[in-house]
Symmetry: C2
């Protein structure tokens, strides 16, 4: 059995390196064929790693340097080549590992990934993808903020990348793809959106395209992949996150109000477990910068071991089930149909 | 005491004319100085109106014609001049009434409003505004979909209109205004967003501008007015609505699961009332097409009497507290500072 080797930026994130090591131990239980390389300060890392029975034989690569949360991508590129994050990405580039995961600075991770891993031929611009809960299961959306402005070809490429991602990471055979727009009618939205929609329709054999989708249908489970530009995607993602946390917090405050509501909450707790588990943002942790010659997964900075293990799971699935090869195949068929 | 006269499209909406009449009766209790003109089929309307004690002396203007939910705005303009909606808007134009409210077809309402009421001098494009709940109270956002593409001047004008709206309808003395963007840093977003931000900063004496705001802060209560283009605003609004209804429905399903959770819900019910009342979409019913020489308020098509009365409340406040005059004054001061 071929092992899947994952490089971890052990120093990235609010609770690093503790949750990185704990998340790795949890992921190793789920995926016994996984191996890790930890990049970071070995003096801090080694005792943590040794405290986990299933990580005792994992490699550590020492560096004193790490990226800080507020480091600017431009500075990072110039001065951060020996940081734990940069070294982890380089290990993917030289094929010492199959993928990398970091809970560190998003801008730095994007800048290094692009610099070291380079864009796949046929992809003009990489895009950020992540998954969310829906009524029926989960959906992935891209671009979530890498590209403020997009054209028709970017959107078609996002559709191809999103489709490959949903197939491999969510596990859907023939993912349904929708374009985010302000109406479902053909005439709605910008010219480049209508052009992208026409092209996607003409790619019926390659992409299971379902047309436009409005913002209130994102969580409906009608599609598996939602394609949009990075500005709109970022606003939609954050609006959904904000609304969800506003609801959860207001509800929690209300339930604390009286002894009756506290008792009521206690009685309902078991029934609410499924709801909470389905909505748990840690379950959907792991955003990916898609379209590069290598797999780099971004974990939420403030997550815990369970969340970090899920981000490792995304990297594991993409590496094990050949995401990049699958995407390249689809791209080569597509370019026969369209000039992208 | 001057009466405030409101024209009602009695035939518009899923539950018309019943909820229109019931909503009017409810609004009349709240605002004793209100008067209505009902536009619609008098054979159906008269018995409904007569059944309400406080509406007995209100005027009815008969028409057999009304706009259907799926009528296209272009057809409506050509053939709908005698519909209940068009006549209600015309009554505002000829100053027979101070404002109008309709729960009918949004596209038709926008088309007629623009045609009959015309844009205020100094406003290039009207915008749709509505209010939403936040942690602290409520916030209004515009544009929610009237203008797919916007430039710097549109956004500045939206800020002025939103500010006048929040002052009069939410009742905030010096409303805080934010620009929706993908980050809070100065360099984020499109050029026209940065230009609008710079201009808004230079209007410090006229607008209480607070900078950029991300999607997850919409419900935070940090600002009272959120300004954005119609594409982004529509996506953000619908994403928030979809997320809220997804949460509410999933929670409801979970609470039905066992006898314990049903009992728990029963015990917590009283404490949850405040939460439900604050989130109740009927409370925020009443979207307005701002920037016209007249007040036209759109009620949600599927609302009930309570929701329709709230939409009437928006029209009442705007008419009573001179929204249009207030906006015109601000526009004339602004044009001294900026060429819009």
């Amino acid at each position: 059995m071929n092992k899947i080797k994952i490089s971890l930026d052990a120093m990235g994130g609010d609770n690093a390196p503790e949750i990185v090591v704990e998340g790795a131990a949890e992921a190793k239980v789920r995926y016994p064929d996984i191996e890790f390389i930890f990049f970071g300060n070995e003096k801090i890392l080694d005792p943590l790693i040794k405290s986990k029975k299933n990580l005792f034989d994992m490699e550590t690569i020492h560096t004193d340097e790490f990226i800080k949360p507020n480091d600017k991508p431009s500075n990072v590129i110039r001065r951060g080549a020996n940081t734990s994050m940069a070294l982890a990405i380089k290990s993917v580039k030289i094929k010492k590992s199959d993928a990398m995961v970091s809970a560190g600075n998003t801008g730095a991770l994007m800048a290094f990934s692009k610099l070291f891993l380079k864009t796949i031929s046929g992809i003009n611009r990489p895009a950020i993808v992540a998954c969310f809960p829906t009524k029926e299961g989960e959906v992935c959306m891209l671009d979530l903020g890498a590209n403020i402005e997009c054209d028709k070809n970017n959107l078609i490429q996002f559709a191809l990348m999103g489709q490959a991602f949903a197939k491999i990471v969510i596990g859907i055979k023939n993912p349904r793809v929708g374009l985010l727009n302000v109406g479902e009618e053909e005439i709605k939205g910008f010219d480049y959106l209508r052009d992208a929609s026409d092209s996607l329709k003409s790619l019926g054999k390659i992409i299971n395209y379902c047309g436009y989708l409005e913002g209130d249908r994102i969580t409906d489970g009608l599609v598996d992949v939602i394609v949009t530009d990075g500005f709109t995607g970022n606003i939609a993602l954050k609006t959904a996150e904000g609304t969800a946390s506003f609801f959860t917090n207001s509800l929690r405050e209300s339930l604390k109000k009286s002894i009756f509501s506290k008792l009521g909450y206690f009685l309902a707790k078991k029934s609410l477990e499924g709801f909470r588990a389905h909505m748990d943002p840690r379950k959907y942790n792991g955003a990916v910068f898609l379209g590069l010659n290598g797999i780099a997964v971004k974990s939420h900075g403030g997550t815990d071991a369970f969340g970090f293990a899920n981000a490792i799971g995304v990297a594991y699935d993409m590496a094990k089930y050949n995401f990049i090869e699958d995407l390249k195949k689809k791209l080569s068929i597509t370019t026969k149909h369209l000039v992208l």
